[in-house]
């Protein structure tokens, strides 16, 4: 990209401030940065929705069958402000669905993938800009389907986010098994289309559009992680989409893929038969286990970049980091059965899945040790993004270690479907991924909006979130070992669990505080977009290509042709006086020759 195109573009933008121009620039934009920011705003809004649903769950577990303060009367007037058991199953289903399909996956792949990939590899845009625009707009049917489900009979899908048949497969099995469940399936399918369009684009862009000198082993780990994530999506997603269509067929045209003979549900006999409920579990987890890595690998990549930058030190073991990303992805395809140890699957198969699952802890351990090795011997700058990245490492250790308990098949018999698993995946996905996402927002905010976020507010946001999230989620391990089951509207109904009420109240108070603390972030975010101090091109003194572009970059990204001379992590190199060495800076002898 030459400077003249950029100038003529901004000139043109100034000239025609028409409605059509506004729409094509900010709404139906084909610019990857605008699409990334569209994804960011949409997913943050759904993050609020998902958080509120979580508070509903926590309210019921702490003060079961009591009137919800303030909003209860508005939401459930017919129950006098209480959460009905029907609605509780909606809450658990829709909280997970929203968080997974509308927040975590699209914020990592959609928002950060779109924004960062072309910038970090030195491209002017994605390989297929129109496809990229469509990948965002295919989220909207999903938003409407999932949102619309709340207004159907039963006020939302209620078969769990895993939607195990027969409960999800039959239109009469529960109050919300009708239109709400159908909309849920359509929503999952359209999210899948969006991810698929994105993943094709990411793979092509990363393979084809790297700047001169940007070899695969000079890619930032964020890009490696996005690349492998796109591969995972491309190979695993069609299975879920196919399974979704099979279930739609079961529900709408009377096939029986997932229904055995002779079922009588809610006193109505089922016509179809000859199927197998476990088939859905195999198909579902064949996608959804790799999806777990879709939800963590990009976060790992972004954390690696942040850790290296603020330790002022190269990534320790770059190649082992790349290989462990590939290893996690490869093993990710052969471990789905560990979700099914107590499902009735052949126990012999359980042993195979158990060994594979144990082995997947290995690349994760290698990554953790390498992160520690990266910070070791550096000059650590405790900025807000760094604190979030460090907390990712700290929390990921907990999430990873608790996974070993579930991988051990005999132990899994005891803790499967209890709060131990809830603790595990909240440590990986909330304390891990969501904290990495916060860190990444603070880190790349100056590139996105050309302004800095407030550091003090950011650090307060970090410290309070960190304390309350541990208060909320760490205790869940204890609940789980006590046998406390997940998805139960009133576990105190069972004498075995009745003593766990006070512990749940403690967790709920922490959860409410944690959600309240996010207001600090929201205020900081929106204030800084408009009034934050202006950022230069490279406020963090980082090496990546994205930091050589203007902040924010114009259409076409770079105002010069980036040429890459080295990897992205040459901090503290003896070759330069500065403690960083941008990828585009020519080596010393070249500069001497020029001079």
């Amino acid at each position: 990209m030459s400077t003249t195109t950029i100038d003529s573009h901004t000139q043109a933008a100034a000239d025609e401030m028409t409605v059509g121009h506004f729409l094509s620039t900010y709404v139906f934009s084909k610019d990857h940065k605008v699409i990334g920011i569209q994804f960011l705003f949409s997913t943050l809004i759904w993050f609020v929705v998902g958080g509120m649903l979580a508070l509903g769950i926590r309210w019921q577990l702490a003060w079961p069958w009591s009137d919800m303060p303030i909003i209860g009367g508005m939401l459930f007037p017919e129950q006098g402000g209480q959460i009905a058991p029907e609605f509780y199953t909606v809450l658990v289903t829709m909280h997970a669905t929203v968080m997974i399909f509308l927040v975590i996956i699209p914020i990592l792949a959609g928002a950060f993938g779109n924004f960062l990939i072309p910038l970090m590899i030195g491209a002017d845009d994605m390989a297929f800009p129109t496809l990229n625009m469509l990948s965002y707009w295919f989220m909207w049917p999903a938003f409407f389907f999932f949102g619309g489900a709340f207004f159907c009979d039963g006020h939302g899908a209620a078969a769990g986010w895993t939607s195990y048949p027969p409960l999800s497969d039959m239109t009469t099995s529960a109050p919300s098994s009708g239109a709400a469940q159908t909309l849920w399936l359509l929503g999952v399918t359209t999210v899948g289309i969006s991810s698929m369009l994105g993943s094709v684009n990411y793979m092509t862009t990363i393979i084809q559009m790297r700047a001169p000198g940007m070899t695969m082993f000079r890619l930032p780990l964020t890009i490696w992680a996005m690349f492998i994530t796109a591969l995972l999506q491309a190979f695993a997603l069609p299975v879920l989409t196919a399974a979704g269509f099979m279930m739609l067929a079961d529900r709408l045209i009377g096939t029986g893929f997932f229904l055995p003979e002779g079922l009588v549900v809610n006193n109505s006999p089922m016509a179809a038969g000859g199927g197998q409920p476990l088939l859905w579990q195999h198909l579902f987890w064949f996608y959804s286990h790799p999806a777990v890595y879709i939800m963590i690998l990009p976060a790992m990549g972004m954390v690696s970049d942040i850790l290296a930058c603020f330790s002022r030190k190269p990534i320790f073991g770059y190649k082992p980091m790349v290989y462990s990303i590939c290893g996690i992805a490869g093993l990710g395809f052969i471990v789905w059965g560990h979700h099914m140890f107590v499902s009735g699957m052949n126990p012999g198969l359980g042993m195979t899945f158990m060994v594979a699952t144990m082995m997947i802890a290995l690349p994760s351990a290698v990554k953790t040790f390498n992160w520690l090795g990266t910070v070791y011997g550096g000059k650590v700058q405790f900025t807000t993004p760094m604190l979030f990245a460090l907390s990712f490492v700290s929390m990921f250790v907990i999430g990873g270690l608790s996974g070993i308990f579930m991988a051990a098949t005999p132990v899994d018999i005891v803790i499967h479907d209890t709060y131990f698993i809830v603790a595990h995946f909240h440590y990986v996905l909330f304390a891990g991924t969501a904290m990495a996402v916060f860190g990444s927002i603070y880190f790349w905010f100056p590139k996105m909006f050309g302004r800095m976020m407030n550091e003090t507010a950011g650090k307060i946001h970090f410290a309070l979130t960190f304390i309350f999230l541990n208060g909320t989620f760490f205790t869940m391990h204890i609940l789980g070992v006590g046998g406390f089951p997940r998805r139960l509207a009133d576990p105190y109904h069972y004498p075995t669990f009745s003593h766990l009420l006070t512990m749940n109240q403690f967790m709920t108070v922490c959860a409410i505080c944690m959600v309240a603390v996010q207001i600090i972030f929201a205020v900081n975010f929106f204030y800084s977009i408009f009034w934050g101090p202006k950022a230069g091109r490279n406020p963090w003194r980082a090496n990546g290509l994205e930091w050589q572009a203007p902040s924010p970059p114009g259409h076409g990204n770079f105002d010069f042709q980036p040429i890459v001379y080295r990897g992205p992590y040459e901090y503290g190199s003896p070759e330069t006086e500065e403690d960083f060495y941008p990828q585009t800076m020519p080596p010393k002898q070249d500069r001497d020759n020029l001079a």
């Binding site: 009588v264 073991g317 520690l372 098949t409």
Partner: protein
């Protein structure tokens, strides 16, 4: 300021260990008041002869505990020592170490393989080696438990020892088993997935429509505990509660005869309510 942050990260292993240790020993300091943690937060009481699942849990807990404390302490020390504000040493310009990578790949691999192999026998015992009679034949089930929205239907074979004959005993949500005996239970579902969960027996098995499955356990303590449904089965999932009563042999026989007589009487007086 860096030192304050490194201490914040040090609190993670400290409070983590404190939480687990105090839960194991009922040391909750906040007994009384709004956040009273009463005792018994660890496993529900163990009422079966098979301790191997609990034992395995503790083995993994201690192994992972060492790693948890180790990484937490190392992270704290690194942050404390290499705080950019106080560290005067030049940055260690290193891209990694092949030897270290090999060490920290092989060590966890050995530990993980150890756990994997160590537990195989327990898994086989829990799910593959069904108890046998004295003559080596497979032990027949004591009863059949059928999950249905939202109740557990329990069916004992009558005098003839076979299920689905006219002399069967039908009970709802009230499972009785004799103590000190290998109990085999056949489980089925009429409608959706349920999960037959006996927290005190360390038994959990999804109940799948269209499949017939068996679980077994060896109760050693008399008493009453819960049957929990652990798989989301619809809006009334939470109230799908049964009770399991472990009786001595004599008491079990007395209960069985009484329940059977009761069933026959009610059939006589209310013929329209037969099975």
């Amino acid at each position: 300021m860096g030192r304050v942050w490194s201490i914040l990260f040090l609190t993670v292993p400290i409070f983590g260990v404190w939480t687990f240790v105090s839960a194991m020993n009922d040391w909750w300091p906040m007994n009384g008041g709004a956040f009273a943690f009463s005792s018994g937060h660890w496993f529900p009481s163990l009422d079966v002869s098979d301790h191997v699942k609990d034992h395995l849990f503790y083995v993994i807990l201690y192994l992972t505990g060492v790693v948890f404390i180790g990484t937490g302490a190392v992270l704290f020390w690194i942050l404390w020592r290499y705080d950019g504000a106080t560290n005067a040493d030049p940055v260690v310009f290193s891209h990694g170490s092949h030897a270290l990578e090999v060490i920290w790949s092989i060590l966890p691999a050995v530990v993980l393989l150890f756990i994997a192999i160590y537990q195989m026998d327990a898994w086989a015992g829990a799910r593959m080696r069904r108890p046998t009679m004295a003559d080596g034949a497979i032990k027949p089930p004591l009863c059949r438990v059928t999950g249905r929205q939202f109740e557990w239907r329990i069916q004992y074979p009558g005098e003839d020892g076979r299920l689905d004959t006219p002399d069967d005993l039908h009970i709802l949500n009230d499972l009785h088993v004799p103590v000190d005996e290998e109990i085999v239970i056949e489980i089925e579902s009429l409608d959706v997935l349920h999960s037959f969960f006996l927290p005190n027996m360390r038994v959990k098995q999804d109940v799948v429509p269209g499949m017939r499955q068996y679980v077994w356990f060896h109760p050693v303590k008399e008493g009453v505990s819960d049957i929990v449904c652990a798989e989301l089965c619809g809006w009334g999932h939470y109230k799908m509660r049964g009770r399991i009563t472990v009786d001595n042999a004599a008491e079990f026989d007395r209960w069985y005869s009484a329940a059977y007589a009761d069933q026959e009487t009610s059939q006589f007086s209310l013929p329209e309510e037969e099975d």
